[in-house]
Subunit: 139 residues, 6 copies
């Protein structure tokens, strides 16, 4: 009999500054498109990242994967590089990227998906505020 | 290369009175089916609505869609008509509808889906209390 | 040696309809003072009530008071009379009272303080929404 | 016209003790695999279970299913047997099972899926802490 | 008979960038004292401000004070000047102030206390993250 | 001019097993007084501890006290000894104490108050569930 397939999720937090800004556009166009989120002096958020992996339950451990190990990998690969940082200036995996939540979550997927293999990353959910979140599943 | 597909969500709140009541049934049958939720003098809730849209990231803005614009449309089309209202008596898009969470979420979809086009509404989630929520994806 | 004094709190929930309305004023004056909260067709909330008692720790039980007993008294004295009710029309301890959060919390104190004796009610906190709450300590 | 398909969810809570432990392994191997979660003197959690069912809206009630009835069944079938219990020692539907969140959620599915029929259980989500949750959909 | 004294609270949110930095100290001393919070490229937070006022219930309105009016004053006096801003560079009432939570909450008190008179500001609570908050009562 | 007095709070979490049990009483008396909380096989909780200190703002740092240092002290003195432990069997500062929330919070005060000096511990708040919490201020 095949083992049940379960999705497991770990939530992690980071605090960062950013501005929504496309350097290929003029300042006027950036201000028009992004409003106060384009403030040249930055603003910031307490982000919450949810990392979901899917797989069969390991009959020895009863885990899909040890979530302590997931936490360690995600902290090393993305949280330590991002927490208390400026997302436009200081984060290698975001270099040249306009740090909207959509672009951040896709960039994090590209870092995390290979780092977590052979476990199968199923979804990343990123909360920017308690009223806004984005989800990406690698598609 | 095709752009990544991301789901973006905005949460909004409204406070409303209602009673669960099917006018095609007798008072006794309504009381039997719906218990205290059928109270003829109404009760109410702090509802939370989550509006999720899915699409490719726009390479100019880095957004699937500007969530400020989503908020404006949802406020105009459903929140302003619903907040601090009686769901049985005062809400045009609920006229003749027994305002269970299931019926409310489907009625909201029918208002919001065309209003948000060409953006693709993917899911509405409606919280009635912190312990109950319903989800509809247009199916 | 005297026993340490500790404050213990139990949270309870109720859902109710109301309108903010002073019957001694004209309809115009009510509308001007209370805006959408005065809607004649009611609106409603998921209220949260926090009941705090203060006293020495009982050396036999290790409790200030059994919070299960507190829950039973509060449910019997206020929650059952209030949950899924209309605060303007149906709640005996609110008869003739404009059901603002301030007036509700004082009325609840007057019911609960004698019911909970000899335990000492220290504070009631009432949340109307996640952004508004009121506190009363019997003064 | 077919009725809209809606997913409805009820959240329930229980508090329990457990240890993560595979009796087929040595104590050393258990300690190595599970660390502090293997503590022989137990630890515990405030669990939150989300029970989601999917179906067409009943045109008479406006419900997919009465969530009060769902609550009663889930309380009788799993919560009463689990709340304030030791998951390794006292819960019949977990007998012989290493009580990781993954194994608990699958065991709960096997109890609840037949108990809730003909309603269609769609998903169980189990929160062990505010930072960890697992999901199972019967696959 | 005197009217009961009640405390009423309104919660408001703002998102901002900052760095903890004392310009009277050397860069080395700032780095030693404040660690990653001193990052020269800024970081940021989703702040939550709770504004509490205390007074007798007005017998005409049933309010201590109209919380809608409190919200308008606080938004005009502090939120609009602070939201999506850099606390070190752009906020007039924080000019020359090292924007720790402690210093922010005292500066906000000095703006809000006169603006809210004759209502009596009782306490400001400022959440920087879900795990840290500070409180000031004007003392 | 004296510096403003501010209260600062850090929240920390731990997960533990316990039973409410007074060994000076008979099993029957324990069962009668404590019901399911007396289960001999234990149950458990995700506890949240809020540590509040009060003092003047240091003009050099802008802090009452570095909350990172508070976190380190509280983790070393109470969290590491308590997390993933059995409160009746394994925690030195609770030896011989019936681990009700009231008794736990007083015992934690007696450990933390001297450890945090010269900073002034003002209040400990301990959440056992999302519906119950206790507070102690050293009195």
């Amino acid at each position: 009999m095949s083992m049940p397939m379960v999705t497991v999720t770990r939530r992690l937090r980071f605090n960062a500054a950013h501005r929504v800004h496309n350097p290929a556009l003029s300042d006027e166009e950036n201000a028009r498109l992004f409003g106060k989120c384009n403030n040249r002096n930055w603003h910031g958020h307490n982000y919450v990242l949810e990392v979901s992996l899917r797989g069969p339950i390991d009959p020895v451990t009863g885990y899909v994967i040890d979530l302590g190990r997931v936490r360690d990998i995600v902290e090393r690969e993305v949280i330590e590089k991002t927490d208390h940082r400026n997302l436009n200036l200081e984060v290698d995996y975001l270099a040249g990227i306009n740090p909207t939540s959509e672009n951040i979550v896709v960039a994090m997927w590209r870092v995390l998906e290979p780092s977590l293999r052979p476990a199968q990353l199923q979804r990343l959910r990123l909360w920017e505020t308690e009223n806004n979140y984005v989800e990406y599943d690698g598609e």
